[in-house]
């Protein structure tokens, strides 16, 4: 195999494979624009006229903007506070690993990754509703706390590569530990912060199980939850349903189109650690 030349065989195979990914999305877009009578014809054909009626109806029936607002609210706050707090906790642990308490904390957070959610699900829901946390703020707090498990792991891997001398120099100049973290360490963590922000936002935006068990008020439903409630009530009007799916998927797809380079490299970075 001459590795200087482009391999057309592999390119062709990959293009054929990518059709398997694009086909369901093509179907989603075209069906979202079709009318129910058109569904009887060729399912794979393009719609005869591109009408936005399905979208208008779906927006009304799912209360789309409310769900979008809820999802955006949760995702934005989870990302900001996860990056700020989880990096800080990781820093505290990473710089004190020689001490028993911090070492214990590291393995304590890490081991939680292997606890399946259903084991804490039932008591957690009882507890959060008793404490009035069965709302979006409660959801945000739980995500930030649960994220520690994975983030401590990848942040600490990265912090270890930052020389301690940098901090010592800053302390010599009169900076406090607090100042050292925010002025020296946090900016140096930028690549890891980006990775954590990407993984966290995908997790918060797409999560279905935690909102399902935690939120009792429909007004607070996030986008995936709205799709679920909507699906169980209006499962026969496919055009309406697909318009609704498309609107729920679109925000992430638009972000992805513009930022895919960073998203892919961000996730790759997180996985090498």
């Amino acid at each position: 195999m001459n590795r200087k030349k482009h391999s057309w065989v592999i390119t062709t195979l990959l293009i054929l494979g990518s059709l398997l990914i694009l086909f369901p999305l093509y179907l989603t877009v075209t069906i979202a624009f079709k009318t129910p009578p058109e569904m009887a014809g060729n399912l794979l054909a393009l719609p005869k006229s591109w009408s936005f009626d399905n979208f208008a109806n779906a927006i009304e029936m799912t209360n789309f903007f409310n769900a979008f607002k809820n999802s955006a609210f949760v995702t934005v706050f989870v990302v900001i506070f996860t990056v700020m707090t989880n990096s800080l906790v990781s820093y505290a642990i990473a710089r004190n690993m020689h001490k028993k308490f911090y070492k214990f904390l590291y393995f304590y957070f890490l081991s939680a990754m292997f606890i399946p959610f259903p084991i804490i699900m039932l008591p957690l829901v009882k507890q959060t509703s008793a404490w009035g946390m069965d709302n979006l703020v409660g959801l945000i707090i739980l995500y930030i706390v649960f994220n520690l498990s994975f983030n401590v792991f990848i942040y600490i891997g990265y912090i270890k590569s930052i020389p301690v001398e940098l901090e010592e120099a800053a302390i010599m100049d009169g900076a406090s530990t607090w100042g050292v973290f925010w002025k020296v360490i946090f900016p140096l963590l930028a690549p890891m912060n980006a990775t954590v922000a990407i993984i966290t936002s995908l997790g918060a935006w797409n999560d279905f199980m935690l909102p399902l068990v935690l939120l009792s008020d429909r007004e607070m439903a996030t986008l995936p939850l709205v799709q679920y409630i909507f699906q169980s009530q209006f499962s026969t009007d496919y055009n309406l349903a697909f318009a609704s799916y498309l609107m729920a998927l679109a925000p992430m797809i638009i972000v992805y189109i513009f930022a895919q380079k960073w998203i892919i490299s961000g996730v790759m970075k997180g996985s090498i650690k």
Partner: protein
């Protein structure tokens, strides 16, 4: 120096307390209630190991375990074969390199629940029409409506979604392998297969281990896909363990009983992960 320690403790102790309150404490409560007969409300009594014994005798739980394992093992194997192949493809000299990479990673950002709804439609309406048009008997009915085949539909959707993430991980491993190794092997007359088994595979072995353990763990927790595709049916043929715990716990008044089931589920996942890690690590060393 003393002041510095205090700052670190001020950071670490609240994190510890919050994590304990919202993660460990519910887990301990779950274990505690698994020894009672609590319905989720009202009074309760200790019943010892009764719940555990009942889980073992419960046919519905047994079926859920069988389904979940069958699904998880098949999906794990398929995802790893496909994503490794895709990663190798994306890592070789190809045209449209960036576009293809972007397309293959696209499913990673999509909600599994909504993807499941879209595939639900494909299985129910698109594939049967294709089957009829082509005269293929096996495709002309919705496989999700067939108790024997519905699990395959769930495997397809789960694999479709999971390949992207595993491909990212494999690609992260592949880009660290030096081109020189392959050139040297070519000079020695090694073919594509030899290069794969002697160079590529041993060098990405750690990524293989991580991918196998993570995908099995994730697939054992399958939930969203099933809710979107079959809701556990037809009958109870695709009811996964997490769906059973969710349903029994929240809708069936089996709080304590499903807590026992969750503890067993937890132990099973730990055992599987440990066995897998031991087995795969040993293989890594031998290579």
């Amino acid at each position: 120096m003393k002041k510095k320690n205090n700052v670190f403790l001020v950071i670490a102790i609240p994190a510890f307390i919050l994590f304990f309150i919202f993660h460990s404490y519910p887990a301990l409560q779950g274990i505690f209630y698994s020894f009672t007969d609590w319905k989720g409300y009202g009074d309760w009594n200790f019943v010892g190991l009764k719940n555990y014994l009942n889980v073992f005798k419960d046919g519905r739980a047994g079926d859920a375990y069988l389904f979940t394992f069958k699904f998880a093992i098949v999906s794990t194997i398929l995802v790893n074969i496909i994503s490794l192949a895709v990663a190798i493809g994306l890592n070789s000299k190809i045209k449209f390199h960036k576009t293809l990479r972007a397309i293959y990673f696209l499913p990673y950002i999509l909600s599994i629940l909504i993807v499941g709804f879209i595939f639900n439609f494909i299985f129910a309406h698109v594939l049967p029409r294709v089957g009829e048009a082509m005269g293929w008997e096996f495709l002309s009915r919705n496989i999700l409506g067939n108790p024997d085949l519905a699990w395959i539909g769930i495997v397809i959707v789960a694999v479709w979604q999971a390949v992207s993430f595993n491909t990212i991980l494999y690609l992260a491993g592949l880009v660290t392998i030096s081109e020189d190794l392959y050139e040297a092997a070519s000079i020695d007359g090694a073919g594509i297969w030899t290069k794969f088994w002697r160079i590529t595979f041993p060098l990405i072995a750690p990524f293989f281990t991580i991918n196998m353990v993570l995908s099995l763990k994730n697939f054992l927790m399958v939930f969203d896909q099933i809710v979107a595709l079959t809701g556990g049916g037809p009958g109870k043929s695709t009811e996964s363990i997490s769906l059973l715990i969710y349903r029994g716990g929240f809708e069936g008044g089996q709080f304590a009983y499903q807590s026992a089931n969750a503890v067993i589920y937890f132990i099973v996942i730990i055992i599987f992960s440990v066995i897998q890690l031991k087995f795969l690590n040993k293989r890594e060393v031998e290579n």
